[in-house]
Subunit: 264 residues, 2 copies
């Protein structure tokens, strides 16, 4: 199915995914609606992970946390089923990925708590609307992501460095990029760093830890935002007996509008 | 001891309180620093309460959640001891207040989780700095608070109506009051309602459910903000075996500056 033939309504899109008719990335689908990262953990680990997110709102902006065992995102997507409504999932046991699957009904348990976290798609839409070009989107690449020396605030068993995404921004648009993304703390918010990569422990911009490298041209500054890969990386490091996440780029499409996330 | 003789540093002020030399309200003390509401619950109830706060950030703005059994607010007030550093506490068992005490060392257990929540003192400082008069402060009264028909989002055993505080604002300053408080989502943020009290279930402004009534004069609008009494009221309704809170007005004074809370 071509992207252009897909329904624009989040409800209809989730229904299609539930039927197994779309197992590809969700970038650009249901435009104007918030897409979310997924982390599923047993209740045993959920308090500490919720605390970790609360202490680190920039990399871990919580949009919804679901009751143990409840597969419906009652606030962001009434009628949804988190076990079937994402195109693709990754299953981790004791920190190692053991499978990539199209639904998680067989894994579901009454003690599983689902965390939905903001993703950068929403603020990228706002940047583009403000006339700020984004090279990785123009070049149809994944955004470049780096492990930094910026510490997160630990919570129980969860700790580790912050992962950031980098976007080259024309120098005369850097201030505007700060302003635009500051409106969206629910999807990572303002940058965590502007300029010199080494100041946050990044040795070589051309060798990202995740995603694809993009060139920073003369007259541009690298601008770094906290990245939603952080909570997944941190959770994996603590080696919980079971963790389920979305597969990269295969997000949960919610009914919430991007603009509903704006603080001002 | 007169208020004017008290140290202006939060660390020194907490030391004085710890020594039992100040057991009175904290309004106006350590000016420019954030004061916090306290709710202490056993770990058994802590996940659901953390979830409740995450779902209701306007009435329940979390500033810090402490590890089970840890009495030190390591982020907001390094070196502090939550068991001794507030002037006065209330102890609830199964939803009923059983004691008001000056320290809680005898009640402390390794499974107790302390929640520090934003309080309106910080945004009131910002309103006054913006030239917006606040009648209850001028008249040295407690702010008027009302139980509304605005529902909160339930989490596990926690649910109940939102409690709001009301401040009469001159009509030509209402927009500015919205702008100023929008900068401070960590301490309740923008108003939840402006004008007609009946629209949110308040029958009679002259009879608040908590605090003292203040007059709304001609040319003023009543403006309503989500209130930190909400989480205490909701927690008490669920009748946990043990809950400890600050006594009204006797807050935890942190090292954080009010301006550190501003989003823009």
């Amino acid at each position: 199915m071509a992207t252009s033939a897909l329904p624009r309504s989040p409800t209809q899109l989730r229904a299609l995914i539930r039927q197994g008719r779309w197992a590809r990335p969700t970038a650009g689908l249901a435009p104007g609606h918030v897409q979310a990262n997924l982390v599923v953990l047993p209740k045993e680990q959920a308090f500490d992970f919720l605390l970790f997110c609360q202490r680190n709102p920039k990399p871990c902006p919580l949009l919804e946390v679901m009751e143990p065992g409840n597969p419906e995102a009652i606030h962001l997507a009434p009628g949804s089923d988190i076990r079937t409504d994402l195109p693709r999932y990754r299953i981790y046991r004791h920190g190692s990925m053991v499978a990539e699957v199209e639904d998680i009904r067989e894994e579901w348990r009454t003690d599983l708590v689902s965390f939905l976290l903001g993703c950068s798609f929403s603020f990228e839409t706002a940047l583009i609307a403000a006339g700020i070009p984004l090279r990785h989107i123009e070049q149809r690449k994944n955004v470049a992501m780096y492990i930094t020396t910026i510490p997160t605030s630990a919570a129980g068993q969860f700790s580790g460095p912050m992962v950031v995404s980098m976007r080259p921004i024309p120098q005369d648009k850097v201030v505007r990029a700060v302003q635009v993304t500051s409106r969206f703390p629910g999807v990572h918010g303002a940058p965590v760093h502007i300029g010199d990569p080494e100041a946050i422990g990044i040795r070589d911009l051309s060798r990202p830890d995740y995603g694809d490298p993009v060139e920073v041209k003369p007259g541009e500054s690298p601008v770094f935002w906290a990245c939603g890969v952080t909570p997944q990386a941190v959770a994996a490091m603590s080696k919980p007996p079971l963790m389920i996440t979305h597969a990269p780029g295969h997000m949960f499409v919610t009914d919430m509008r991007d603009e509903d996330l704006a603080v001002l």
